[in-house]
């Protein structure tokens, strides 16, 4: 005899009816009305496109040729062999690995220094360091392109004063990426400093007072009190920076146009060219899905790495 699981459908229906009845009709209608305008926009321009994007990545979808054929994982197989995409992926990792520590660590140190009780001129420091944050990438990139100018730029002039030879900062394949990383770190430094300052202000004064009474040195206060209690803030800053850095684009678009010899050609640049210069939408969608996967992976990895929340 087969065992037939006993499902009480009447009970389920009753529960469901009760659940629905527990809402006031008027309240529910009003609630829907309040979320409706925003909901329509989000569904139409965010939720549907997300699903659509995954779907498109299984198609050979080319606007110019008017092609739209289902090819399964074909785009992804092609990505694996695509030399240019691999180059772009490598460059993007290079950029993230270079730019994140270079803007996060100095940001942390600055925040710690500025947060000292005796420090005067905090608000001026905040304003100056935050200034590059509020200005757009296009403007910043234009100014730095001029600073990096091999013949008349300020950088090579300063080098020549010290007696060093001038460099083709953005024209040299070896130097182009480090130069872009430097600009990125310069712009993001103030942003990270502000985030760390907010984290530092959440640490109760009590801990520092206790440490001072015990005669702890500044370094050991930083190492054994500030750093551990700043774990959450550090996690947040790292995640934000990694996500932001993976989306690098205007920097290289304005300063080097991806060059020289693909030295600064990054994933978003590749997506942009594939989708909006060559109109290979399906192939570009598969690149975007890969980018999303990588960003998601790093977000989860960092969550793991930082583990449980520190309470105090």
């Amino acid at each position: 005899m087969k065992y037939i699981p006993f499902i009480n459908t009447i009970k389920i229906r009753e529960n469901f009816t009760q659940y629905i009845r527990s809402f006031s009709y008027r309240e529910a209608i009003t609630g829907y009305a309040f979320i409706a305008p925003a909901g329509v926009i989000i569904i139409f321009f965010v939720i549907i496109p997300i699903i659509f994007s995954f779907g498109m990545s299984f198609y050979k979808w080319e606007l110019i040729k008017g092609v739209k054929i289902f090819i399964g994982l074909g785009n992804y197989a092609r990505l694996l062999k695509d030399q240019i995409f691999r180059r772009a992926l490598f460059n993007t990792f290079y950029f993230v690995v270079g730019s994140v520590p270079l803007s996060v660590i100095p940001g942390l140190i600055l925040a710690f220094l500025v947060d000292q009780k005796w420090f005067k001129g905090k608000s001026m420091v905040e304003v100056i360091y935050f200034l590059p944050v509020v200005i757009g990438w296009v403007e910043i990139a234009m100014v730095w392109r001029w600073l990096f100018n091999p013949n008349y730029g300020l950088f090579n002039y300063i080098l020549s004063i010290i007696g060093l030879p001038g460099q083709h900062w953005l024209g040299n394949p070896q130097l182009a990426m480090p130069s872009i990383i430097m600009v990125h770190a310069w712009k993001m430094l103030g942003y990270n400093m502000i985030l760390f300052l907010a984290g530092l202000r959440n640490i109760p004064e009590l801990y520092y007072e206790a440490a001072e009474i015990d005669g702890a040195s500044r370094w050991s206060i930083f190492r054994y009190i500030t750093l551990p209690l700043l774990k959450n803030a550090t996690f947040l800053v790292l995640v934000l920076n990694v996500i932001y850095s993976f989306q690098v684009f205007p920097q290289s678009f304005i300063m080097t146009q991806g060059g020289p010899y693909y030295a600064t050609y990054v994933v978003v640049y590749n997506i942009y060219n594939t989708a909006f210069q060559f109109y290979k939408l399906g192939y570009a969608a598969s690149m975007a899905v890969v980018l999303f996967g990588i960003i998601l992976f790093f977000t989860i990895l960092q969550k793991r790495f930082f583990g449980e929340v520190v309470e105090y």
Binding site: I128, V134, Y157
Partner: protein, 272 residues
């Protein structure tokens, strides 16, 4: 010892500040130079013949700078106002009303925040093509009328407003929309300030989206117009820098006036 540590701190911060400010000074210096002084060696900080105004006039002569600026105002202004309005409306709905499916919808919106815009931009481009909205203001603006993040931030904030206030207003006979308008909106001011500044900054500086949607010159936003200017007149560094200066001065002024909100906005929006 302690004394030296303090001096060391000021020196580190001070040197850093020079490093932060130097590019702007160099920008101002180049923007003030007549053409023949850009390429002098060694470079002079203060030009012999200060021609900032001439350069600015030249910029307006060479590119429709005013038009780009106006377009940026329209784009960033509409997106910001709409995000504040629709975001707070939805935030109020999500936090103070009970209706079937509320939490599922909210989690869906929350989840969509994790997806970078590069994933959605290709399908949205197609949608705009089908609507016939490519290279139009509505194509530029409508997809950004509200953000998942805006809804999330407003919901979190409005949740902290005590229900008693709402009940009291209701007893006085206020309608739901009136409660939103005269009670919730004024009480949400800190969150609205932060969200407003954050959205305005992000939209004003957005480069990728206008680059994809807009192709005709008369609809270009400032970053797009400047990028175009860079390619067109690549070696006229004095004019390029004058254009950059014109573009960033309003931003710097707004930043200096509202700097408290900026910094608060960053810390509030960073923690999401």
């Amino acid at each position: 010892m302690k004394y030296w540590a303090r001096i060391g701190t000021y020196i580190i911060i001070g040197v850093g500040m020079i490093f932060m400010i130097a590019p702007f000074i160099w920008l101002l210096s180049t923007a003030s130079k007549p053409p023949h002084e850009i390429f002098t060696y060694p470079p002079r900080l203060i030009p012999n013949d200060i021609s900032l105004l001439e350069n600015i006039r030249e910029v307006f002569h060479w590119i429709p700078f005013g038009r780009f600026f106006l377009n940026s105002i329209i784009y960033a202004g509409t997106v910001t106002l709409s995000t504040l309005f629709l975001g707070s409306l939805a935030g109020f709905g999500f936090s103070k009303y009970r209706f079937p499916g509320r939490d599922v919808i909210f989690i869906l919106i929350l989840g969509s925040m994790m997806v970078p815009s590069q994933v959605t931009m290709i399908p949205v481009f197609l949608q705009l093509m089908w609507l016939g909205w490519l290279d139009t203001y509505q194509g530029l603006i409508v997809p950004g009328l509200v953000s998942a993040f805006g809804i999330f931030l407003m919901r979190q904030f409005i949740m902290t407003i005590p229900n008693e206030y709402i009940d009291a207003a209701r007893l006085d006979g206020a309608s739901d929309f009136k409660i939103y308008w005269i009670l919730i909106l004024p009480l949400s001011k800190p969150a609205l300030n932060a969200l407003g500044i954050f959205t305005f900054m992000a939209t004003w500086t957005n480069f990728l989206w206008p680059l994809i949607v807009i192709s005709s010159e008369s609809k270009k936003t400032l970053p797009l117009g400047l990028a175009y200017f860079t390619y067109q007149y690549g070696t006229y560094w004095n004019l390029l820098m004058a254009a950059v200066l014109l573009a960033i001065i309003p931003v710097i002024i707004v930043f200096l006036i509202f700097r408290r909100y900026f910094i608060k906005g960053i810390t509030l929006t960073g923690i999401k």
